[in-house]
Symmetry: C2
Subunit: 334 residues, 2 copies
């Protein structure tokens, strides 16, 4: 059973995932080479993953066989496991709880070589729809407080499988990054009675220098204080705290802008490894006036080194105003 | 001039280091290969670094020439620069200040191929003495509030030069990791009137399972909630909040245990890349009852991927109790 542990000084939580345990000699000292070979995410290999929890299939084909466009399965090597009751324990100074949670893989396309940045909006929309349906389903489980959706693209960004996929982890606690965001946004709201993300969008649309692209409903900006070169945020222009409240039209508009933003990034830096995360409100929080859901896209272009570990402070060699200009010029949309 | 920027939601600071600015095509998409060639840190090449700010030399040899054992120079491509007055500015929602600070390189040995983990204690003690002297000197500059000392060892851990060296950055603000540590420690002290680190050492010495090694004055433990496999902390057993209050005997005892700890790690995982950071109290805080200085050693064995970026939460496949046992068994000290 995996275990959640809390650092007694910082209050930072860690997942000790014994199921993924390794001997010292198993650790790749440098980034591992070569992925190739058998792909458990390809059509025809459905039996090499745990049974699917969701799939978008043409017609009335049976579950756990080919014919799907997007397929969601439990992670075979989960960081947290779904069975059991949550139990918390203190050991002297320390706190731990058993690692109850869900860890799922969203297989984004039946095509092994289809690069996410090249998905057409209708394909990408299907992926976002899968996120939405899974969050709505997991919200019913009262043990969970948050669902974190994320993608690792490229080996340097932590991907261990080539086939385009994202992941979600449902957690029994609120992760501290979300707690900090909620607290920061709440204190702005208390003072101004406005959502800080709405204020940011307003200021960015006025200043223009950090806007990458936009459509009627969404906007892609580089944050004022980006952790890495080319970090991007995609936000709905209309205030909304819950990703899973988006209707089909909104999801399609999101897919259009997401796809355009990634294309601009990949045109500018070919084969760039990146991570993205979905930041939405906690489960069952039911619409917050002070919070605003968004995606954060973080390219892997600099390394987390001693200074970052020690300080929680990032050194970024690329001003976001210049990065945004590179991306604005990197693609001519017909 | 570099710039410090604050994220308006999280309060997280970023250094935008335009002096290190790159074009999109300059970014290594994967870890760069090959370092070799000319080494600016080797004896004889002193003129290829800015003039030294400290050196431990045999006899009365002139500055900025060979003959040194440890040499400290300003970083040629600094993240922050030392000249100028600190000025702060608001731009709508956003806050920024100019990037005043010091960024120095501690060259740890004249020998290009001398691996830090193989330093004998007397060599390592000289490096720690250089940290101490530089912190004491930088403390006089009223613009600085913190000196972060850190080491990147190995390419995967962010090192760009092979020659053994560490770095320090003097900052005009307290980094948020330090703020969090100070706050966590303070709230424990308020409640219990004891230092939380002293309590941790007491509990670890009782439980024993996370202790790697110890001597009369220092102890190396794996933290209860480690971010990465084999994360280690080295702490003084006697309460002390300031690294730079250590006398020569203490520095020598530290060097002995530090060297033993690294040897154990490298015996267990040969050529492991790692970072370490020194966490000490803020400049001019003059001895805190609730804080306890220490080193944190973080091996680069797992990658920071989407989940970590999005949640501030780490997944660690290696329980520290097992890791500590591997290290206890990895070396027989005569």
């Amino acid at each position: 059973m995996p275990e959640l542990r809390k650092d007694p000084i910082l209050g930072r939580w860690i997942i000790i995932s014994k199921e993924r345990r390794k001997r010292p000699t198993d650790f790749p000292v440098e980034v591992s080479t070569g992925i190739g070979g058998f792909c458990p995410l390809c059509p025809g290999n459905e039996s090499s993953t745990p049974p699917e929890v969701l799939a978008f299939r043409d017609g009335s084909l049976p579950a756990n066989g080919p014919g799907w466009n997007v397929r969601v399965v439990p992670n075979k090597f989960p960081a947290l496991i779904i069975e059991g009751n949550l139990s918390k324990e203190g050991i002297g100074l320390y706190d731990r709880m058993n690692g109850i949670g869900a860890h799922e893989v969203i297989v984004e396309s039946p095509n092994h070589d289809h690069n996410f940045a090249d998905f057409i909006p209708v394909e990408m929309a299907l992926v976002f729809k899968a996120y939405k349906e899974r969050i709505i389903d997991l919200e019913k489980d009262q043990r969970f407080r948050y669902v974190m959706v994320f993608k690792n693209h490229g080996r340097a960004a932590g991907a261990s499988l080539e086939h385009s996929h994202s992941q979600l982890i449902a957690l029994p606690i609120l992760p501290r990054m979300i707690v900090s965001e909620l607290e920061g946004a709440k204190s702005h709201y208390k003072y101004k009675e406005r959502c800080i993300f709405c204020d940011i969008i307003r200021q960015e649309l006025q200043q223009k220098e950090r806007v990458v692209c936009e459509n009627d409903r969404f906007i892609t900006i580089m944050p004022f204080a980006p952790r890495t070169p080319f970090e991007m945020w995609i936000l709905p222009k209309r205030h909304s705290s819950s990703f899973y409240f988006q209707d089909d039209d909104e999801i399609h508009a999101l897919a259009e802008l997401f796809s355009e933003s990634l294309q601009r990034l990949c045109n500018c830096i070919p084969n760039v490894p990146y991570n993205y995360v979905l930041h939405t409100d906690p489960l069952r929080s039911g619409g917050l006036e002070y919070y605003h859901w968004h995606f954060e896209i973080v390219p892997t272009l600099t390394s987390i080194a001693g200074f970052e570990w020690g300080s929680g402070f990032y050194i970024n060699p690329m001003p976001p105003e210049e990065a945004a200009q590179f991306l604005r010029e990197s693609l001519t949309i017909p």
